[in-house]
């Protein structure tokens, strides 16, 4: 276009119709509008997600926080010798013969004394009814205290008792006088006593350590239920899962990714690993029931392979976690640039040296992240545990010793939550939400660890 000045000289230049770029043409306008629309749609999608997340968190925290506090009633208890140790010999064996039933009058007397001392009038006269202010587990804890130190018999001691779940609920606003109308456990008069005791200062709500470290309790004592033992069950299961799925998963991925020849057989394995990752977890549960418990424990008689054992739970969850770990490990091995492998082979490293000295360290962040995500998934898994019997019973005691931790019947955190949510008493419902908070804290911690590890091990190449 050197002769642009000589207009009309060539037929090309006869149409000097040029569009100004200051005018936006129709097609561009349409395109821009479409782009804007898409942007708003995306934003709306993100905001919807955010809304649900916030709603979820608010619900969980709002419902679960009360589980972390517990109402206690402080009483002066006179350990009457005539009831606890008639002979006066302080013989532990004889004292043990007094069952919790024998401690009931002592507690009743203590409550009556408290009412008299505080000058509280009440229409409730029966000691048995007064006792309903306290958890039914109160006598048990009093008996334990006495058995620990029989020398105290005859003295008057001050003790904090767990309040009954209805009293606790009243303090938390869950129970009202109206709702007690249909309740046989507590009368509105009880609540009058509670109000008076609150004023007097004998009732307090404090942080509930027992919820975090305690064990589950029976249906009638929701106020004493804790998630501690289930947490331990989850811990032992995670040990099994980590100990098995990490080495097996990483070894399998390294073999498949670096060593295995590409043929029909390895293709078949590959497809099936992907399929395995998509199998509903309950299928793994029934597999675990059939293979580990019925065949392994029943037919072969392997000790420890029994229903409700964290060892079996861990094995089932290992099966579930393996595909996750294999898939993520293979992805991170694939992400290591082939030039690094070439470099290692080029200086005369063997295949294994190149993998273990160069490829694996570079893939480590990805492998660790995948493993932790897999573990977090396993930690929150409930369905397979239902089938191998990790629910439906009261795991009431801490296992004694490491071996017992793997083989003693136990529950797991999500199974425990499921169990609580199933029970009728609203006090259990509250604990289910509280359990979810604890579970989420664990999952969040694991995810944060994954992020930190990834940041730490990440290297440039």
């Amino acid at each position: 276009m050197t002769d642009a000045t000589s207009s009309g000289a060539s037929p090309m230049m006869s149409k000097p119709k040029r569009k100004s770029i200051l005018e936006i043409d129709a097609a561009t306008k349409k395109r821009n509008a479409a782009e804007k629309r898409f942007e708003y749609m995306g934003l709306a999608a993100v905001l919807t997600g955010l809304f649900f997340l916030i709603a979820l968190l608010v619900t969980i925290i709002g419902n679960g926080i009360p589980a972390f506090t517990q109402t206690f009633i402080t009483l002066e208890v006179e350990l009457q010798e005539k009831r606890l140790d008639k002979s006066g010999e302080r013989d532990l064996e004889k004292i043990k013969k007094v069952t919790t039933f024998g401690y009931n009058p002592i507690i009743q007397d203590a409550i009556k004394a408290k009412l008299a001392e505080a000058g509280i009038e009440t229409e409730i006269t029966k000691g048995k009814d007064l006792r309903k202010l306290l958890s039914t587990g109160a006598v048990g804890s009093l008996r334990t205290t006495v058995l620990e130190d029989p020398s105290k018999i005859g003295e008057t001691i001050e003790m904090r008792f767990v309040a009954a779940s209805r009293v606790d609920g009243y303090m938390k606003g869950r129970v009202s006088r109206e709702s007690l109308a249909r309740d046989k456990n507590l009368f509105p008069a009880h609540l009058d006593i509670v109000d008076a005791l609150v004023e007097e200062g004998s009732i307090e709500r404090t942080f509930n350590w027992n919820f975090i470290f305690g064990s589950d309790a029976s249906d009638s004592r929701p106020e004493q239920a804790g998630i501690g033992v289930a947490m331990l069950g989850s811990f032992f299961m995670m040990l099994v899962v980590l100990g098995l799925s990490l080495p097996v998963g990483v070894a399998a991925s390294i073999y498949l990714e670096e060593f295995a020849p590409k043929n029909r057989f390895t293709d078949f394995i590959e497809v099936n690993i992907s399929n395995l990752a998509a199998i509903p977890s309950i299928v793994f549960g029934i597999l675990g029931l059939a293979v580990f418990i019925q065949f392994g424990g029943g037919v072969l008689g392997i000790p420890g392979f029994k229903a409700s054992a964290p060892l079996v739970g861990g094995l089932v969850l290992t099966l579930m976690t393996l595909p996750t770990i294999i898939i993520s490990t293979r992805a991170s091995l694939k992400a290591v640039p082939p030039s690094i492998r070439d470099a290692a082979l080029g200086v005369g490293a063997s295949k294994m040296q190149s993998v273990f000295h160069h490829v694996l360290p570079l893939a480590m962040p990805g492998i660790l992240t995948g493993t932790i995500i897999g573990l977090a998934q396993a930690l929150g898994e409930t369905a397979p545990l239902l089938l191998i019997g990790m629910v439906g019973f009261i795991a009431s005691n801490y296992p004694d010793g490491l071996a017992a931790g793997f083989t003693d019947p136990n529950s797991a955190m999500p199974a425990q939550i499921f169990e609580w949510a199933k029970r009728a008493d609203p006090a259990f419902y509250e604990r289910a939400w509280g359990g979810i908070i604890i579970l989420l804290v664990f999952l969040m911690t694991m995810n944060i660890i994954a992020i930190i590890l990834r940041r730490r091990f990440e290297r440039r190449w």
Partner: protein, 265 residues
Amino acid sequence: MNDMRKVERAVDMHETKISARGVQVFYGDNHAIKDVDVEIADKTVTAFIGPSGCGKSTFLRCLNRMNDTIDICRVEGDIQIDGEDIYHKDVDPVQLRAKVGMVFQKPNPFPKSIYDNIAYGPRIHGLAANKAELDEIVEKSLRRAAIWEEVKDRLQAPGTGLSGGQQQRLCIARAVATEPEVLLMDEPCSALDPIATSQVEDLIDELRQSYSVVIVTHSMQQAARVSQKTAFFHLGNLVEYGETGEIFTNPKDPRTESYITGRIG
């Protein structure tokens, strides 16, 4: 071709280091190398030139059996180094690769320190008895690759933090650290700027003193500058092989002539 003065053209009659006879390479059904015969002399620089996809890199990778890592690749024919068949079933490719070092197209230092990059080869082959010997090997290799002065104060710094040209020289140092007899270079300068390229070319000329160097290059000027012998590949065939001066000034085959004058490629 006015920069051909750089290297003495007089080719000394060195003995043959590598001899290839009737080499065929297949990638699955694709016949990548067709019946190539070539004799590579010791202590010379031999350049492989040719258009993209002509098989020069593939042939280079046959010389230290790097193609073994590709499942579908099949090599036929006979390649001998010092009269020994490298595809003999008793040959361990790992041992062979220690003897035939390789430098790749893209600088690929390990994401480790400069020191560890160099020390890795000697370590796995047990070339150093103690730390002092290893230090010596590292220094010697870095000096040979003409990079010692630039990195001697930061041997513990990561090798990936160097510039592209330095990284490539680091890779060359890494390759010579294992005391190979042959050095294969697959387009070693294609990722480098002109200054770094000229440094690496000087280095290649230096290395000729001790090794037989085989270099694949896309740049005919580079082939002309650094090599004594040149082989021209086209569509998997070795079209012409001879002294570099001869190939560039007086090619016998019309295809060679078309390529070096820029008509095919």
